[in-house]
Symmetry: none
Subunit: 217 residues, 4 copies
DNA sequence: CATGAATGAGGTTTCATTCAT
DNA sequence: TATGAATGAAACCTCATTCAT
């Protein structure tokens, strides 16, 4: 394994001084995980790299071996938060073949809301800090967010076509499905007092279905 | 030995160097109004006092005559944003005497959502920056937010008692009423593409009513 | 004198946070003067802003009120070093009307070399640090340097036209006139041991005249 | 208690971790050659060891096996640049026995200037970076530079003694011979536009001879 | 009352050098 | 012998706040 223009490589669009992509991925995961916790707790701007390094149990220099800038960390955190719940999109098509849109929607809501609950405060963080990203990064994030909504729209369309749903504004309703999930994270400080995540999923599912089902339950 | 440390009074919990409370209120309003616009546009941390002073058409020194710190400005902005839509709370009791809960709820939703729309990006700002407040300030803000929900709960209770509504979890539903209003501000970047504020109010009103009305429309 | 978009102004192509152009000029002169001495002594990269501020008897923040970056200081120093000896260019045309090119050339050499001697180590500094400038700045400096040579070319041309001089390559000879002046500064560590500036001027003048005069002295 | 601190020998005044002097010399040559190119292009301070290692096709650790510090590399580069054109000094004595001082001087100028042209930007680099050396190193370099001038002085003296030359200040004239050679490198950006190295040698040779020859050509 | 020049601690980031592998 | 991950001091620069005028 020769020359390779050592150092100053570029992994996943973000500068690194290592060429060992496995190590990069490993260290970045470490950094992102810790940074998420610290940033969510104290805020992005309030957390200094000094403090972050201490929290990571790394030296400052080490962080900058695997990451280009503080901004990049923010980007990676938000990107992960936005992309993680997307896994369900892949199985969506399959599900629609074998189950009724109503069942698929119920299933998706449960999957997505559970995902949001599991990511802890990441979703809240995304809501709060996306605006601090460079425009280019912000665009990427918003596109990813729009895709979530697109996926829900597909299910709603399927339901309308099969005569199960009646919906005035499909994109708006899809948006409601997604953002009512986010709200669990954003307003946990209040909602946690009035219900569990299970109850929340139940209630919000019925809120939505009540509004779109042709044959009311 | 001088008589007294000149200025340095305390108005509304925030330091000022003036003793003329009318002037303090006047200047603070000026500052808050301009600061809201600038902070919402550029973010709290990204805006320097230098930039803020320029945007206010004031000197830095002048701002510090009427305000104790940059944090104080943030607090005053958020306090205003949270309190402004609360006006409707006062007329709520009266309305319930003369109209059906359904009508009152419809009216409140329209009032509240229109208020959110009018405050521009303030609601979004509050979502993003509340965490930057000192804990003491943050508590005050969250209490005010909880009061909004309490007010909606009253209407829902009234509806349940009169047999118009059937609601599994009243606080959760009240929360939905309020936060679906906030979403218009927080997700305007997406929602603005699929509907107007009028349509949004209509759709969300029917979403909620569909779910709670005993006699479906 | 109203608004004026306080702060963050731009004076002479370089950022400043003051709007008082007289003060800017005064402070910048202070900074440049001290910085020249320190940079010449210790080198540009070896001198920290901390050290520079101490040498200026200012705080770091104060320097950054009147200057955009460390680079800007370098630029201003070099610009001054290049522009200062240029004063003679203006009187050049007049001189050529009333005196013989030979006399004018003698006079110019004396003026220019004396100027170089007076600027102390600035010329040396310019030779050493121009490459550290941003390309844009470097271009400006090199253009200014080329103008010096152009001015000397004029005199040589006049001499050739009047039949006083015979020169194979005028730009090269003009270049020699200028750079032999610079050499006094660049190699003072050696030349200072073998002659005074007066003798240097005398010897180099005769070196040049010997080579170009049609009637050898 | 280990036998000896492994490696850590000292070759040519500069630390190395190897004891194989042939290998040291081989590696150092590699390093110096590449470093010269990179430092000349980007500047000493602007080039990181990271970048240098990449340019050398070596690891950082390997460089530090054969060299004590970044400074040491600078010293070795400059030392080489100063010493390389010195080869002619050895044949100088012989030449003076069989040829006239005028011919020897002509020959030396051609040799020296051609040498400067061949070393590319090394001479310029030496001009710019010598000051960055530690005082001790700098002294060594300046002594070597003074020797060049001494060598030229010998030829001039010989010419004066034989009645071929008439020179007011021999060290100054010797200095001119050398530094007019350096100028080709330092001011190539300008001179390259007005003549070739061949023309430059011709013109400068006649500039000098015109001034010192007793019998003008 | 009003100004904005001045401060300097603390922010992010770089990079020469070391050392475990 | 050879590597490059890891370190952390120190660099440049920002900005909330003060205070003399």
């Amino acid at each position: 394994m020769k020359a390779q223009l050592a150092g100053n490589s570029n992994y996943d669009g973000i500068r690194s001084f290592s060429n060992d992509s496995e190590l990069i991925e490993f260290r970045r995961k470490e950094i992102i995980d810790k940074a998420t916790r610290v940033f969510v707790k104290n805020g992005f701007h309030q957390t200094s790299m000094h403090h972050l390094a201490a929290s990571c149990g790394m030296s400052i220099g080490m962080i900058y071996h695997y990451i280009g800038s503080k901004q990049d960390i923010l980007y990676l955190i938000i990107k992960e938060a936005v992309h993680r719940p997307n896994d369900w999109q892949q199985t969506l098509e399959d599900n629609l073949k074998y189950s009724s849109p109503t069942e698929v929607l119920k299933y998706l809501i449960r999957q997505y809301y559970t995902g949001v609950d599991n990511t802890g405060d990441n979703t809240l963080f995304t809501y709060q800090e996306t605006k601090n990203l460079d425009p280019e990064f912000r665009k990427t994030i918003m596109k990813a967010a729009a895709e979530d909504i697109k996926a829900i729209e597909k299910v709603l369309w399927a339901g309308v076509e099969k005569g199960e749903f009646k919906i005035a504004n499909i994109p708006l309703m899809a948006h409601n499905v997604i953002t009512l999930g986010h709200l669990w994270s954003v307003r946990k400080w209040f909602l946690g007092q009035v219900c569990t995540i299970e109850e929340y999923i139940e209630e919000q599912t019925s809120l939505i279905l009540n509004s779109i089902l042709v044959e009311k339950p």
